[in-house]
Amino acid sequence: MKNDHDHAHSASCSHAGWTRRALLGGSASLAAATVFGSPALARRRTPGKPVFVQVFLRGAMDGLTTVVPYGDAALYQLRPTIAVQPPGATNGALDLNGFFGLAPAAAPLLTPYGNGHLAIVHAAGSTGQTRSHFDAYATMELADPTGSLRTGWLSRYLLQAVPPAPVDVRAIGVNTILQLTLKGAPEALAIPNMQQFRFPGALATSALRQAAIVDTYSTEPAPVGPAALDTIAALDLGGIDFGAYVPENGAVYPNTVFGRRMRHTAALIKGDIGVEAVTIDLDGWDLHAELGPIDGHMASLLDELTRALEAFYLDMLAHLDRYVVVCLSEFGRRGLENASAGTDHGHGNAMLAMGGRVNGGQVIANWPGLDAGSLVNGDLAITIDYRDILGEILQDLFGVASLATIFPGHAHVNRGITT
């Protein structure tokens, strides 16, 4: 019975030769410009610019576990039970440069690091003093010390970097909610699962329903109205078949939501539909108790993160100039372990940057030390502002001439993160 109905609909709806674009164009003049920028008309990315991929480690990742400063003896006084031991010890760190080492669970990072395509920045972060996750997100992602701007730093880059030709979607927050980093960004959408970014429901009436949505949403105020029109325009994401996508070089992504999102991001970049920025979150790092750096929660998170990064690196090995990945967290953890074998909210942290033009194979740090006289309120001090890393990448890889509007009030210092 149902099939009969569907056939009837097909017959009744197809006679007029409806197509999605024709219907959309005819139904909503206000939305015409956006709608006609449908996937078939998508322009390619700006030549020479990579896609910026931000991986935000929400909950405050413990950089002293991920990238262990085993050469600083004070670490083992602060964390007598949870610090990763030096290289050579049982479950010891994997040496990077004679002073820093990776947690064993982060071993997959050695692949891009050893090839010179992954750099680690330590004692880095946002110099804001808050210990609130949410205030720290806002501080870091908006990067607006004046509090007067209502946009994320990445949005401000996109607003000033006008693409050479219109595109359907310029930025994707791979999330159910658009991250603050992309707040106010042009043609930015939250897409939790790229594989499902297709218009749902009966195929026979799909075009009519899209037209109705464009018509009715075209007068809705921001953010709803523009988001609806951008959604319709970007449907199918250029026809990329995310479900059938096969990673190159035998890369195997973790079978997790984060792994899937990184895999889809690789497919998206190769699909070349004009997306300039992608933001992905990996949550769960707020480990106040039972840190588990070797076989517990932290190890599990590190395993998921670093296997996904390694898979992405291998998958994109022939496309190294087409992306730059930056991993960062809102703040680090306190130097001292707590009574629950965990760590509390701190300050300085580690960042990661990966890509063909990243000056990798090194730990960039102006190490402040972990002795009592060097800690700041019990925390690792910040000697490299995270905006220096992002700013240098924007200048060298994205051709940004001035960072004044992207990072207002910040005096930029080059840290040698790019080649």
């Binding site: 569907d6 609909h9 009744s12 996750h133 909610i177 658009l178 499902q196």
Partner: protein, 208 residues
Amino acid sequence: VTPTPPAQLVDAVAAAYTSSGGDIKAMLRVVLARENFRFTAPIVAPKFRRPFHHVVSLFRAMEVRFRLTSPSTPLNTEVLSLLEEMGQVPFDHVQPDGYPDSVDQWGTTLLPRWRFAAILLHNYIGSSISGVFMIRPSDLRARLGFAHDPADRAGLARRMNERFFGGTHSPHETEILQGFIDAYGSFDDTAMFDALALGACLPGFQWY
């Protein structure tokens, strides 16, 4: 009291939290005290439904009943999966600040809620989501005053708005929905659910 309470009320609740050792009743007494109700701000602008609200609204409109897989599984797992796609699984927000509650956060992720409406209402034959049962098509037709007579199509979008969508559609949205209904060659039960799915996607139904 208000989505944006004044600092003095927040401070008073914080003081109650501290002095009572986190007793919720003590904090609510402060919030609901007569002197603090002067901060009450009537909602003068509609709010954007969060995904859970959207789902429940549609379930209520469609008189949904559940058949649970087991007493130990109090929520339908398929519905939970759809809520996960939309970003609001109950009691699953990792951070301690609760799910956000503003259009700025939810208003840019529309496709998953359109998808939910389509999944629930398209291909409706008894139960489009396992364990979820909606109003019977015959009851639906009776409620809409629609008996497959072509003449019954007139004003059908208006009746859908009045009897299923709580009057949330604007006159223009009703006009667009009616145009969609009129474009059908033959308008059967499947078409009726297709039109309801579209109605659930229109902007008016996203607000309350």
